[in-house]
Symmetry: none
DNA sequence: TATGAATGAGTATTCATTCAT
DNA sequence: TATGAATGAATACTCATTCAT
C-alpha cells in the first residue's frame, strides 16, 4: 500500500489510514504522516488544506464503494438475503485485502473533537443502515423475512453483530478468517429471521460467480485512483448494469 | 454526579468519565479535569501518578459491578436466558441512570496509544464475553438453547447487537428507552436461539423482584466509594442476601 | 525596565513593549518574549491566555495614566490651555523616561489582523481626542480660544502635530528633547488659536510646580505594579484632590 | 484597479497595495497576492526577486508623483501657500480616487523588520518634508509667512495635521470628504502663519484651472505604467506646460 | 492537600523561497 | 512565463509532568 506509483494526495490518505489502524485517531498527526511519507510537514499542506480534510479523505476512501455496491445490488435485483450477503461479503473482502481500512469503522467516537468528520462518518453509517433496512423491508414484503420483528431490530442485530466481529478480528490481530466468519454468522441470522428454510442458504458465494456481480466487484478492486476525476462518475466506470 | 460528598479521587474519575462522554478520549486532558474540578492541575497528581492511572480508573469504574453481577447470577443459579437478561438489564439500568459511563464502552480503539489501558479494557470485554459464553454453553447443555450454533456465534450476536444499540443510543442523544429497547431485542435473539417457545419470555423483570437480586443490586447502587480498598473483594461488601 | 523585582506578568508586558519598540508589532512573537525573559514559551501561557491578551496588556499599560490625567485636569479646574499643556507634558515626560512605550502610539495600523487590539487602541485614541476636544470647547466658551474655528479642527491640529513630532523623534532615534519640542510647538498652536496674547504663555512648567499636580504625577510615576489589584482604584491611590 | 490591461508586475504592486490597505503589512504575504491575482506563488518570483522588492515597489508607487509635483510647483513659480495647497490637494485627490494607496502612508513603523523598505519610506517622507520646508522658507523670505516661528515647526504642524486627518479618514472608513477637509484645515493653518490677511485665501482651486497645472496633473493621471523605464525620468514624460 | 510557576516535547499551520519542468 | 511540489524555519498554542512552597 501507499506505493510510489500513486499520486501524493492518495498516498497521504493511505498513510493516514495506516496510522489510524496502527496508532488510532489520536496517533494521526501531520508529523507522523510526513515522517512515513518522508516529506516535510509543510508539503502535506500542498495537498490538503488542513488535517480535517485528511480525516474526511479517509472516510471518503473508507466508503468509496458504497454507492457502487448499493447500485449493484439494486440493479441486479438481488433478493434481500442475497443483497445483504453480497454487501457484507464485499466489505469483508475489502477488509481482508486491506485490513487497515477496517479501523475507520470505529473512528466515530474518536472524532468527537472533529465535528465535521464525526458527522460525515455518521452519514456513512446511516446510509448503510438505511440501505440494509431497505433490503430487510423488501425481504419482509416478499415473504423472505419474518414480519414478526420490526425491520430496524433485524438491522440492529445484523449490523451490530458484523461490526462486533470486525472489532474482535482487529483486537485478535486478524487471526481468523473474517469473511468466512462473518458470512457464517450472517447465515445464522438470516436463517433465524427467515420464513422459509432454504437448503442453499450458505451458497451465497455463488453471487460472486455470476458474471455481472463479478464484473462489478472487479471494477471496484481495480479502480486506478482513489480520487475520481471530476465529471467521471464512479458508477459509470463500469459499463454494464 | 461528581458531587462534593465524594472523595477527590472519586470525583476526578467521575469527571474523567464525563469528559470522555462529552469530548471523547482525545478531549480528556489534565487541564480539562482540573478546570472542571476547580482545582489546580498539579493537585491531580496528588491522587494519580499519571494520566494513565486515571484512564485505568475509569475502566475500573466502568466495570466495577461486573464481578458482583457475575457472582449474583451464579449464586442465584439463574437459567441461561435469565442470567443474560439480568446481566444486560443491569448494565442498561446503569447506563440509563448514568449515561456518560456508557462512553467507556467504546474507548478501546481510542486507547491505542495507551497500551495498558487498552489491555485492561480488552480484559474487561473478554471477561464479559467469557461469562456470557459460559451462560450460553450452560443453556445449551440444559436444552434451553440450540446446539446447532456454536456458543461463540451466539455470544457475538448478542453482545455485538447490544453494543450497537448502545452506540446508536449515544449517537441519537439518548432519545429512546435503552433498557426497554435492548431487552426487547434480546428477547428476539433468545427466542431465535431457543429450543422451547416460552410464553413468559418477557417476564425477566421478575428477577429484580426476587429478594436476593434486589439486595445485590441495592448494594451496587448504594456503594459509597468507587474504589474498593485492596484486599477487600467487592462482592464481600454486600452482606449477602 | 523589566527588572526582576516585578511580577512575571508585568515583566512580560514590559518586554512586549520593548519588542514592539525595537522590532515592531510584526516582531512581537511569543518566542521573542520568552527568549528575552529567559523562560520557555509555554511559561508565558501561565500568565496570558494568548498573544492578543499580551497586546491588550501593552495598550492598557500605554494608556494606564489616562484616567488619572484626565481626572487631575478636571479636579484642578485647569484652564483649557493649561490642561492641554499639562496633558501633553505628562505624556512626553512619560515617553522621555520610557521611550519604548511611545511605540505603542503607532500600532493601530499594524493591528489590522488583531481586531480586538485594534479596537482597544482606537478607543484609547478616541478617548484622548474627546477629552482634548472637551478642553478646547471649554476654552472657546471661556473666551480663551477663538470660536472662528471649530473645536474638532483645533484638536486635529494639536493632536496630529504632537503625534507627528513623536513619530519623528522615534525615527531620529530620540535625538532631540521631545517634551521641550512638543511644548514649544504647542505654545505656537495655542498662541495661534488664542484670543488673548498672554505674556506668560510659556510658563506652563509652573503647573508641575504646584503641589497638587506634583503629587498626582508622583503617584503616577511611583505606582508599584502595572496591574492594580482588584478593588483598588488607581485614582484612589492618591489621597488628595 | 488592478485590471487586466496592466502588466503583471504592475498588477502585483496594486494587489500588494490593496492588501496592505485591507490587512495591513502583516497581512501582505506572497500567498495572498498570488491568490488574489489567481496565479501561483512561484509566478510572483518571475517578477520580483523577493518580497522586499514588492514592498519597495509599493513605496515607489506611493511616491511616484512626488518628483512631478515638486517640479510642477517649482516650474509654475507658485507662491508658498499656493504650492503647499497644490501639493496636498494633489495628494488628497490621489487618495480619494484610490483610497487604498493612503495606507502606505502609515507603513513605516510596520516595516521595522524590513530595514530597506523602512529606509526608503523614510526617504520619501523626508523628501516631502524637505520640499515643504523649502516652500515655507521661501514664504518666509517673501513675507508671506511669519518669521517668528521656525520653518520646521510650521512644517511639523502642517504635515502632522494632514497625516492625522488621513489616518482618521481611514479609521472612519472614508466617511468624510478628505480633500475638502484637509484643504479647509490647511487654510486655517496658513491663515494662522500668514503675515497678510488675504481675502482670496480659499481660491486655491483655481490652481487646477490653470492650463499648466491641468496638463501636469493630466499626465499624472493618464500615465500608462507604474514603473518608469530606467533612464527615463518621469518628469520628462510630461511634455512640460 | 494544594498550588503557582515552570518546562520540553509536541500540536497544526504558515511563511518566503527554490527548483525541476 | 508559468506552475506543482517541495522545504526549513517559524508561528501560536497545548500537553503531561515536575517541583519548590
Amino acid at each position: 500500500m501507499a506505493n510510489n506509483y500513486m499520486k501524493r494526495k492518495d498516498r497521504i490518505i493511505l498513510t493516514a489510514v495506516e496510522i489510524i489502524d496502527q496508532l488510532g485517531v489520536q496517533g494521526l498527526t501531520i508529523r507522523e504522516i510526513a515522517s512515513r511519507q518522508e516529506i516535510s510537514e509543510a508539503a502535506i499542506y500542498r495537498h490538503f488544506a488542513n488535517k480535517t480534510e485528511i480525516l474526511l479523505g479517509t472516510i471518503d476512501y473508507f466508503s468509496s464503494y458504497d454507492a457502487l455496491l448499493f447500485r449493484t445490488i439494486e440493479n441486479q435485483n438481488m433478493k434481500a438475503w442475497e443483497g445483504i450477503t453480497f454487501l457484507f461479503a464485499s466489505y469483508m473482502e475489502y477488509y481482508e485485502n486491506y485490513p487497515a481500512i477496517s479501523a475507520v469503522n470505529f473512528t466515530q467516537e474518536a472524532f468527537q473533537l472533529e465535528p465535521e468528520a464525526r458527522q460525515r462518518m455518521e452519514n456513512v453509517i446511516d446510509d448503510r443502515l438505511r440501505f440494509i433496512n431497505h433490503l430487510v423491508i423488501k425481504g419482509q414484503k416478499e415473504g423472505e423475512f419474518t414480519r414478526d420483528i420490526c425491520s430496524e431490530s433485524i438491522v440492529d442485530i445484523i449490523f451490530g453483530t458484523v461490526q462486533f466481529i470486525i472489532l474482535r478480528w482487529r483486537a485478535k490481530n486478524y487471526d481468523f478468517a473474517l469473511k468466512e466468519h462473518v458470512l457464517s454468522t450472517l447465515s445464522i441470522l438470516i436463517e433465524a429471521f427467515s420464513t422459509v428454510k432454504l437448503e442453499n442458504r450458505f451458497v451465497w458465494g455463488g453471487v460472486f460467480n455470476q458474471e455481472v456481480s463479478a464484473s462489478a466487484l472487479d471494477s471496484v478492486l481495480t479502480r486506478p485512483g482513489l480520487f475520481l476525476e471530476k465529471g467521471k462518475d464512479q458508477v459509470n466506470e463500469k459499463s454494464e448494469g
